[in-house]
């Protein structure tokens, strides 16, 4: 075997604290190493060409590249090695950047460690065998989880490209948080005017099947062949018959139920159509508030419904579907701001969240677009906006900045001036974050043209005095304590991942951080992909972002999905388990332990043997560690190969 070792400088990232030349010279002394050198940038064009040239010149049969993490450039170098004619699995990497040069300054120790990591890679490579990928058919169907603006964009893009799309939305209507907005920044154009048509497109698009008021129950399988079970929650209304006339919502006697869509601003009935432009425009019953379910006596909606669509005995349905790719676009939720007892913790009715205020501003909202104080319904004159309630606050475990509150608060201040010309808006802020195109001019305009009074300082306490709310804050630019007598206090509440996002992440088998945001493949280079092939992310579920970025990510995720599903056959990963029938005694241990049911028992000349179903095996290696005989080996990570690495370390 003739192995070539290439030590990458990565500019100064590695060469800064690792003596690459000496590592290369040491590497040349390793067994089976025919050629060892160090190059400036291995992953760059010249670097790859140098490797190909060296393979040809020295008739190499295996390559070791010591550079960055294989999670980033293993695919790159495998293609390079393939271009040079070698099998892509006759290649190993040593991570001497993230695991060596970047975590210590001690040149001698780093160089020694780098050379040892290279010896490990070489010793493993000596036992590598050529592996040929097999190919399997791809289901040309995309599942989009979440019907907010990001999900809608992804679904429309994919459907327009001819892909069949299933959209699953937890709420009775799609539109997500954007549908709740009255206007959007920085152009103050009406939110439902720009989102409404898109929602209609989703409903009418021949390629899109919409499952509203449904959730993903379970997902199994792998990229190209996911089996998804969708739970269609019982809305107690037969949507095929319901015409969305809204008669039931008028007659329903239970008038005190919590209006989830309008963030509880006004009470509503138990059977509701969330908002006029809802898609699908169908009624659904909130079981919690419906008298028929609580007391067993009512049935008004059933009597009134012209098409007889009401059915109290409706059960959840399950739909099984095979999809090739999944786009998660589950969006965000406002955090529970009632931890701030100093702002009343929810006890003062006139302290509302920004989303509740948005519903008050909205003409289709419960107050018909009139801003009213929840306590006495009067029009407020002094409105105080408090920024960073639940963002940038270590003491309640939310150290991050939510990104879009500065912008929507500026917009709400403008709308307040439009709705109530003689009103005064006060905004308590720490730093105005307005990075987008036309954003900062927008926040300047609200202060200059609309006379919003911006005060730089946090608010320590809000307490009621008579009909007013006393807001006790600070103005750090003046260096004084300040107080405002307010009629209404609007909190720019920080956001977090949608409720239930971690649960979905476990079903999708993708990792998530401590706030519930999904983990992207690479924060800069692969923002819409995940480490799980075939699962893509779009919008705020990956990290808080405003509408333009969410839409952009929607399209990006669709593009990635289209790239994946454009091919009819996908290459399977050859790093899968294989059974050596001579050693297998048919004890079935591997069959029980395999999480993907990828091993089955076959009869070989009268003896039970195990056999791996290549397309289902994911290459986790559980069976390999369980088999008492060592009969089943995971290709590319066999026992010998791993132990060779351990040997390489312990022998010297």
């Amino acid at each position: 075997m003739r192995i070539g070792v290439f030590i990458c400088h990565c500019g100064s990232n590695i060469a800064g604290t690792v003596d690459c030349a000496s590592v290369a010279s040491v590497a040349s002394t390793y067994p089976d190493v025919a050629y060892a050198t160090d190059i400036m940038y291995a992953c760059a064009e010249p670097g790859q060409d140098a490797i190909i040239a060296a393979i040809k010149e020295h008739r190499l049969t295996g390559v070791v590249v010591a550079s960055c993490t294989p999670r980033m450039h293993e695919p790159t170098f495998r293609k390079t090695v393939e271009r040079a004619g070698l099998n892509r699995y006759m290649f190993e990497m040593a991570n001497i950047r993230e695991h060596v040069s970047w975590i210590g300054k001690d040149m001698e120790a780093n160089t020694n460690k780098a050379s040892e990591l290279v010896r490990m890679a070489v010793s493993k490579l000596r036992l590598n065998r050529e592996l040929k990928p097999k190919s399997f058919p791809v289901t040309k169907r995309l599942l989009v989880v979440g019907g907010g603006v990001a999900g809608i964009q992804a679904a429309l893009d994919a459907a327009d490209a001819g892909l069949e799309v299933l959209m699953v939305e937890k709420q009775p209507t799609i539109g997500g948080k954007m549908a709740k907005l009255d206007k959007t920044f920085p152009t103050v154009d009406c939110s439902s005017c720009i989102l409404g048509p898109r929602m209609v497109d989703v409903a009418q698009h021949p390629n899109i099947t919409l499952y509203a008021y449904s959730e993903v129950e379970s997902i199994s399988g792998y990229v190209g062949n996911f089996d998804v079970k969708i739970r269609k929650k019982a809305a107690y209304v037969d949507w095929s018959k319901c015409t969305g006339c809204g008669l039931c919502t008028e007659k329903c006697p239970s008038k005190k139920s919590y209006d989830r869509f309008n963030e509880g601003v006004g009470p509503t009935t138990a059977i509701i159509i969330p908002f006029p432009q809802a898609i699908p425009k169908k009624a659904s019953i909130e079981r919690e508030y419906c008298r028929q379910f609580n007391t067993g006596k009512c049935g008004v909606c059933a009597k009134v419904c012209p098409t007889g669509a009401i059915n109290y005995e409706m059960q959840d349905e399950f739909i099984d579907a095979k999809v090739g790719g999944i786009v998660a676009a589950t969006g965000y939720d406002l955090m529970d701001w009632t931890v701030y007892q100093e702002y009343g913790g929810g006890r003062y009715p006139d302290v509302v969240t920004s989303l509740q205020y948005e519903r008050m501003l909205s003409a289709s909202g419960p107050t018909g677009g009139h801003i009213k104080r929840p306590s006495d319904g009067e029009e407020p004159k002094d409105v105080v906006f408090i920024q960073c309630v639940g963002s940038r606050d270590v003491s309640i475990g939310r150290p991050y900045c939510s990104g879009f509150c500065c912008m929507y608060t500026a917009k709400q201040a403008i709308l307040t001036k439009d709705h109530i010309p003689d009103s005064h808006s006060y905004v308590f802020y720490m730093d105005i974050r307005s990075p987008g195109k036309g954003y900062d001019e927008f926040t300047r305009r609200v202060q200059e043209e609309y006379q919003a009074r911006y005060i730089r300082g946090r608010v320590s306490m809000v307490y009621p005095k008579g009909k007013k709310l006393i807001v006790r804050g600070a103005d750090t630019l003046m260096g004084t304590q300040v107080e405002v007598e307010a009629d209404l206090v609007v909190l720019a509440v920080g956001a977090e991942a949608a409720k239930g996002a971690p649960h979905l992440a476990e079903k999708l088998r993708i990792s998530y951080d401590s706030y519930g945001f999904f983990m992207e493949g690479h924060p800069k280079l692969r923002p819409v992909e995940t480490n799980t092939a075939g699962v893509f992310l779009a919008g705020a579920c990956q990290g808080l972002k405003d509408i333009p970025s969410s839409v952009a990510q929607g399209s990006a995720a669709a593009a990635k999905a289209l790239a994946l599903l454009s091919r009819d056959m996908l290459d399977s990963d050859p790093q899968i388990a294989a059974v050596n029938v001579n050693r297998c005694v048919g004890c079935r241990k591997c069959i029980e332990v395999c999480p993907f049911k990828a091993i089955q028992e076959i009869d070989l000349r009268g003896q039970p043997k195990a056999e791996v179903i290549e397309t289902v095996c994911q290459g986790c290696g559980l069976c390999n560690a369980t088999c008492p005989q060592g009969a089943i080996q995971l290709s590319h990570f066999t026992d010998n190969q791993l132990l060779a690495e351990v040997e390489a370390l312990c022998r010297f």
Binding site: V26, T69, P70, R71, N95, R97, E98, H99, V100, W102, I103, G104, K105, D106, E108, A109, N110, N112, K113, S115, E116, L117, R119, M120, E506, R509, S511, D513, M519, N531, T532, Q575, V593, P595, F596, Q618, G619, C620, G621, L622, N624, A625, T626, L634, F637, D639, L642, L643, E645, V646, E647, L649, C650, R651, F652
Partner: protein, 152 residues
Amino acid sequence: MSVLKEKELRVIGFLCNWCSYGGADTAGVGRFAQPTDLRIVRVPCSGRINPLFVLKALLGGADGVLVSGCHPRDCHYAEGNFYARRRLEVLKGFLPVLGIDPRRFEYTWVSASEGQRWQHVVTTFTANIHALGPASFSPEARELQILNAAAR
């Protein structure tokens, strides 16, 4: 060519590719400084680690072995780390029987986003191993010493 005398001890790490190896990368990207003793062997899943690998390493002269996988319920293969947890817990209890100090083997769960935590795990584990000093087998484990000498 082995560990730097008096400065390093032989510490081997078995890291699952999806979470802990990613966590070690995030620690690198974050430039979180760590001692240089640890050498990482990448495995597809913590469930792939056969307890015999750990024994082989310890008998082969490793002063410390660290295994790290995905947090329970986070595993890319759904159940890999559950099996790993059970196997390695049994192994930890079994080490004293072999005359090996159980403190020389540790297993933990680190996700791909926990760079800072990985720095803490490596620094603490390496410090503990330095506190224990180079591996030396208790007198009764004579056969192990012979085996070890042969392996060297």
